[in-house]
């Protein structure tokens, strides 16, 4: 096996082209030793294109090789995509966050990947370039082919960055997880939400939960409950019920029963929506 640290995106694509399916791209490589190794690895962690984090043209653009630690620290992300900063701060351990990347979190297609859950709630799209030089955008939730299987073919496609609209005034986002331990733990459930308000009325809402299906899952019925209303006690209680009943969840000996996981989805959905709502209201009228 050979290992190449690519110096720019074109070089990385060239290597993939030349290797005819024998090479694969990686970034943080934290899951590398858990898999069978290909003949060639192309490391994207040092590319200019994949390590930038910026706001331009009305979009937040996060390079796929931005680490969880830098995303969690970034003032830009903390102020305009709080859910993502919160998610990145809870992944694994400091050591894993220092090397694991946002793009890897998406491309690995783990069903409870914290960053991916936040990205879906934020409405993020992956900007993907293939070896033909074609670039396309796909919603993060569309990138899942099954449990731990991505539609991205890492021998011919590269996620360059993830883009979404930053939270503006009147918008708020939040992420929460429930894990059996406060560090070094996979979550039993993780949720994220993004809400836009006008006055105290909810104008738009995206609510995501995992692990429910292979991909982070939008809770459309729960979202519908909150559209165009000023939420009060009754609604929040309904939100919990709706979120819990909207999901099909599985249990496992290792983690918890399906019934309990369903209950957690409900509780966390309500909590994360409330938090996102409060943040949205607080930022309405110029406060951040």
């Amino acid at each position: 096996m050979s290992y190449i640290i690519a110096s720019d995106l074109n070089q990385a694509l060239q290597i993939l082209r030349d290797s005819k399916g024998q090479a694969r791209v990686i970034a943080g490589a934290t899951d590398l030793f858990l898999q069978t190794l290909p003949a060639e690895l192309v490391d994207l962690a040092e590319l200019y294109e994949t390590t930038q984090l910026e706001e331009s043209g009305g979009l937040l653009s996060i390079g796929s090789a931005v680490t969880h630690a830098s995303a969690a620290r970034s003032l830009l992300i903390r102020s305009k995509a709080a859910a993502l900063a919160e998610a990145c701060a809870m992944i694994g351990s400091p050591q894993v966050r220092n090397i694991g990347t946002i793009g890897g979190n998406v491309a690995n297609a783990a069903p409870a990947a914290d960053a991916a859950v936040a990205l879906v709630a934020l409405g993020a799209k992956a900007v993907i370039t293939d070896i033909e030089g074609q670039t396309r955008e796909e919603a993060v939730e569309e990138l899942y082919a099954g449990y731990n299987r991505s539609v991205i073919d890492s021998s011919s496609e590269i996620i360059g960055r993830l883009v979404f609209k930053p939270c503006a005034a009147g918008e708020g986002s939040a992420f929460m997880r429930f894990a059996p331990r406060r560090a070094l733990a996979l979550p039993l459930v993780n949720v994220a939400a993004r809400i836009r308000v006008s006055g105290r009325r909810i104008e738009a809402v995206r609510m995501v939960a995992a692990p429910v299906k292979p991909a982070p899952t939008r809770l459309f019925e729960t979202e519908a409950l909150l559209q165009e209303i000023i939420p009060g006690h009754e609604i929040w209680a309904k939100v919990e019920e709706a979120a819990a009943s909207e999901v099909e969840v599985r249990g496992s000996i290792l983690r918890c029963s399906g019934q309990y996981r369903r209950h957690l989805v409900g509780t966390l959905a309500e909590r994360v929506l409330k938090e996102a709502y409060q943040r949205a209201c607080a930022s309405d009228g110029g406060e951040t």
Binding site: Y3, I5, A29, F33, L41, G92, S93, P94, V96, L184
Partner: protein, 162 residues
């Protein structure tokens, strides 16, 4: 197995090694370079015993492909002491009783070292967060936390005396 040349900075010195590209940084350090201070507790990034600093950031050496360190700085526990001096942080670890079996200690010290470099005056909560990827079965972490805070205080004093 194919080997490739890797150039990097190890504990402040330039190093060139020929190593299996598919191997981990941990195996490079322990197996090839004889730096046994970096411990292996699980080999899966779940215990933090193999924590080293990669460009000043704590990482699990067992999860880092050796080839990834090309051009980077790697710092191991061996860098913090000489034959007759130890780092003040290590003194604090001893003074506060933060070392029992000692197996997690090198990784724990490096996590704390990186924290103090980035944040010279951490809160107890920040210390706990910084060492949350380093499992310790002996101490209950309390003495580790005290040691890191003690070292931070020493640093404060040292800098106010300047």
């Amino acid at each position: 197995m194919k080997k490739q040349a890797i150039n990097f900075e190890l504990n402040g010195e330039p190093v060139e090694v020929f190593t299996e590209a598919s191997g981990s940084l941990l195996h490079l350090l322990r197996g090839q370079l004889g730096l046994l201070g970096t411990k292996e507790g699980c080999g899966a990034g779940e215990c933090g015993a193999c924590t080293v600093l990669l460009d000043n950031q704590p990482v699990n050496a067992c999860l880092v492909p050796a080839a990834k360190i090309e051009g980077k700085q790697v710092q191991t526990i061996e860098s913090l002491s000489t034959s007759n001096t130890v780092h003040p942080l290590q003194e604090s670890f001893v003074k506060k009783g933060a070392v029992q079996c000692g197996f997690c200690t090198p990784g724990m010290v490096l996590s704390a070292y990186a924290l103090l470099k980035a944040n010279p005056d951490p809160t107890p909560g920040e210390v706990k967060e910084a060492i949350s990827g380093n499992l310790c079965r002996c101490s209950g972490y309390k003495q580790v936390e005290e040691a890191v805070l003690d070292a931070a205080e020493k640093k404060d004093q040292a800098s106010s005396e300047d």
